[in-house]
Amino acid sequence: MSGEDSAWFDEDAGPLARPYTFTRGRTHVARDDLNMITLVVALRKHHRGELDHAHGRILECCQDPISIAEVAAGADLPLGVVKVLLSDLIEQNYVIFRTGLAKHSSAASPDTLQKVLDGIREL
């Protein structure tokens, strides 16, 4: 949480740069199979001039498999913007992704739940 030295605005003020500045004004939505915990990883690096700054920044964040929420936090951009940028990178084969759990909690198998339980106990 922000400390006493925080500026006069807070998160309620919303992002201070217009998010779609970063997506060149495109209004298309991100792939609908991306969510906060979708894991993404870069397939290759980009060469100078291949990508604009925002896309390049996102690509650098996902050199190791990482969730989209972590990419957004690392790049300090809203999730919605990051999903659009990642969608572009996926389309251009810079990034691959894996959607985690399906939409309903029942998708976690008893075996998976047991592993999570054991893992938390061992923390």
């Binding site: 949480m1 998160e11 992002p15 957004a72 919605g80 976690a108 739940l113 592993k115 923390l123």
Partner: protein, 203 residues
């Protein structure tokens, strides 16, 4: 704040399964503290634009209205192994709106509702939300100081949760206590699944 050991960093595989557990409750009840007590990373913050459901505020007009709200989410991570990662998401701000966010509930394994006995009413919205959507949850009564004003049974009675929903006392500043809350949730989810399977077999 102390975080879970970062020396056991495991590089996840791209085909890993990522799971989400929600941490809900009223403002200032300790959600981010809970996340930080077991997370292997310092809790991160991200912002998401979410669509609110028509909340009935405009019932008079009879017109379905939707609008988007920017919400902040604090989250942490527990890497169980290369193939399994659990993310804990807490909602630090804008609590008056968060129960409208279906997107948050989608794909979540279950939830912890953190309660503060000084302001029990502040977690009613969370309980209603998870009950309506059949998201398994446990209630953690966070004790900020050693003086616990109420018993678990008194809290359970005041919150009017179903008898099968676990209610437990906790101190989420302590990692062991947070672990107990999370393992209780996991056991609860597994027990519900077991019941559902038996119902299918017997049905």
């Amino acid at each position: 704040m102390e975080f879970a050991s970062s020396d056991r960093m495991i590089r996840p595989a791209i085909n890993a399964t990522a799971l989400k557990i929600l941490i809900a409750g009223g403002f200032g009840v300790g959600k981010t503290t809970l996340v930080g007590s077991v997370s292997e990373i310092e809790p991160l913050r991200t912002e998401e634009q979410l669509t609110e459901r028509s909340a009935g505020v405009d019932d008079v007009t009879g017109v379905e209205q939707k609008r988007t709200t920017t919400v902040a989410l604090d989250f942490g991570r527990i890497t169980i192994n290369q193939e399994l990662i659990v993310y804990l998401f807490g909602t630090p701000g804008q609590d008056r709106f968060w129960f409208m966010w279906d997107e948050l509930a989608q794909g979540s394994l279950g939830a912890v509702v953190l309660a503060d006995t000084r302001r029990l009413a502040s977690c009613f919205a969370a309980i209603d939300f998870f009950e309506e959507r059949n998201v398994p949850f446990v209630v953690g009564v966070n004790c900020f100081d050693s003086t616990q004003m109420y018993t678990v049974d008194e809290v359970r009675g005041a919150l009017d949760v179903d008898p099968f929903v676990p209610v437990l006392l906790c101190d989420v500043r302590q990692r062991e206590s947070t672990k107990k809350v999370l393992t209780t949730l996991l056991e609860h989810i597994m027990s519900l699944q077991g019941h559902a399977q038996r119902a299918v077999v017997e049905g």
